[in-house]
């Protein structure tokens, strides 16, 4: 059985690509054959985050158009077994990404025995995002603790419940879970940032994980290695927990509270 997962958000720049890379890598590390597909036509980035930008020859649109076959388009990860990347094309013609074409690619990946297909959605709630979500069996909604991101996530949830193939066929809503990223417990404790509970209350979906705001994410993108491979880092551990929960494990949420400063720190500590 293949499970197709869309990583989506509505709002841009909240951490979809970071999450897609981490989720796909984490699943493959656990021995699940996984492909991560970049649906951001024209703004390809996943290849950089995965560190395979210099190995890109063909892309998703090439495979759809038949310029290359699926095996030629897929890039096999050099660090993790069972992990494949299908980059987006840099073409400006967004119409190149047809639903029929995408379906053909997904069917091909199923035949290759992929267990998970992670679809890294572009921002927005238009065609690109709809195409990435259309065939999904499950959604991970990436949200930052900030008003416009939460509102956009709610809109995306509305779209997921009517515009996926399953919804259109009357097979009901696909399961969607919340991944709250760039979380800063210090700011939450000062009352300056929405808390996990606040966001959960508003969106009313299951919580897959909370990823702290972390320098490790920038380090990871600088070096082209998904942050989950930085297993000592807070963000790496938080993503690893999220992967475990995604696979059905129960794990307590970590990194939700600020590092306690002593009384001295509180009285004289910098803001």
């Amino acid at each position: 059985m293949t499970k197709i997962v869309v990583v989506t958000s509505g709002k841009g720049g909240v951490g979809k690509t970071t999450t897609s890379a981490a989720l796909a890598t984490g699943l493959a590390q656990r021995g699940h054959k996984t492909t991560v597909i970049d649906f951001d036509v024209g703004l390809r980035n996943l290849d950089l985050i995965m560190g395979c930008e210099r190995r890109v020859v063909y892309d998703l649109v090439n495979v759809i158009n038949g310029d290359a076959n699926l095996k030629q388009g897929l890039i096999k990860d050099k660090r993790v077994e069972d992990l494949f990347i299908l980059p987006a094309s840099q073409t400006r013609d967004k119409d190149a990404l047809t639903l029929e074409g995408v379906e053909k690619v997904l069917e091909g990946l199923k035949e290759m025995g992929m267990e998970y297909i992670i679809c890294d959605s572009p921002a927005g709630i238009e065609k690109g995002a709809l195409t990435a979500a259309y065939f999904a069996d499950e959604a991970v909604v990436v949200t930052n603790p900030e008003v416009s991101s939460v509102r956009d996530s709610d809109r995306i949830l509305g779209i997921l419940s009517s515009k996926t193939r399953k919804a259109e066929r009357g097979e009901g809503d696909i399961p969607a879970s919340l991944l709250l990223t760039r979380y800063s417990p210090e700011r939450v404790e000062r009352g300056e940032m929405l808390s996990v509970e606040d966001v959960k209350d508003i969106l009313a979906i299951d919580l897959l994980g909370v990823i702290p705001e972390s320098q490790a994410v920038l380090n990871a993108s600088n070096s082209g290695a998904p942050v989950i491979l930085d297993s000592e880092s807070d963000a790496g551990k938080a993503y690893e927990d999220a992967v475990a929960r995604f696979l059905g494990e129960q794990r307590p949420h970590r990194f939700l509270t600020a590092n306690k400063k002593g009384l001295f720190g509180r009285l004289f500590g910098a803001q």
Binding site: G158, R190, M193, S195, D198, Q271
Partner: protein, 83 residues
């Protein structure tokens, strides 16, 4: 933040303002979700018509689509200001 901020009266925290605003807007947007695409436009235009007669604010109009055994009901609530 210094020791003095503990002594000063507290302003309402921005996170709780954010939560309140989000709850309102999200509830509004959910009410018209799944309904026909012209709903937001309809709501705008109805508001304009009402405003020709009385001054009401944005929140005074509430449109909701309900589905009951195969038929759709458009529910429209306009709260008039009490004078």
């Amino acid at each position: 933040m210094s020791i003095f901020s503990y002594l000063l009266p507290k302003k309402e925290k921005s996170a709780s303002v954010a939560k309140e605003r989000l709850q309102i807007i999200v509830a509004r947007e959910r009410a018209t979700r799944g309904g026909p695409d012209y709903l937001p436009q309809l709501q705008e235009e109805l508001l304009m018509v009402v405003r020709k007669y009385v001054e009401v604010d944005q929140d005074a109009i509430n449109i909701q689509v309900d589905r009951e055994s195969g038929c759709e009901i458009l529910e429209l609530n306009i709260t008039l200001p009490d004078e």
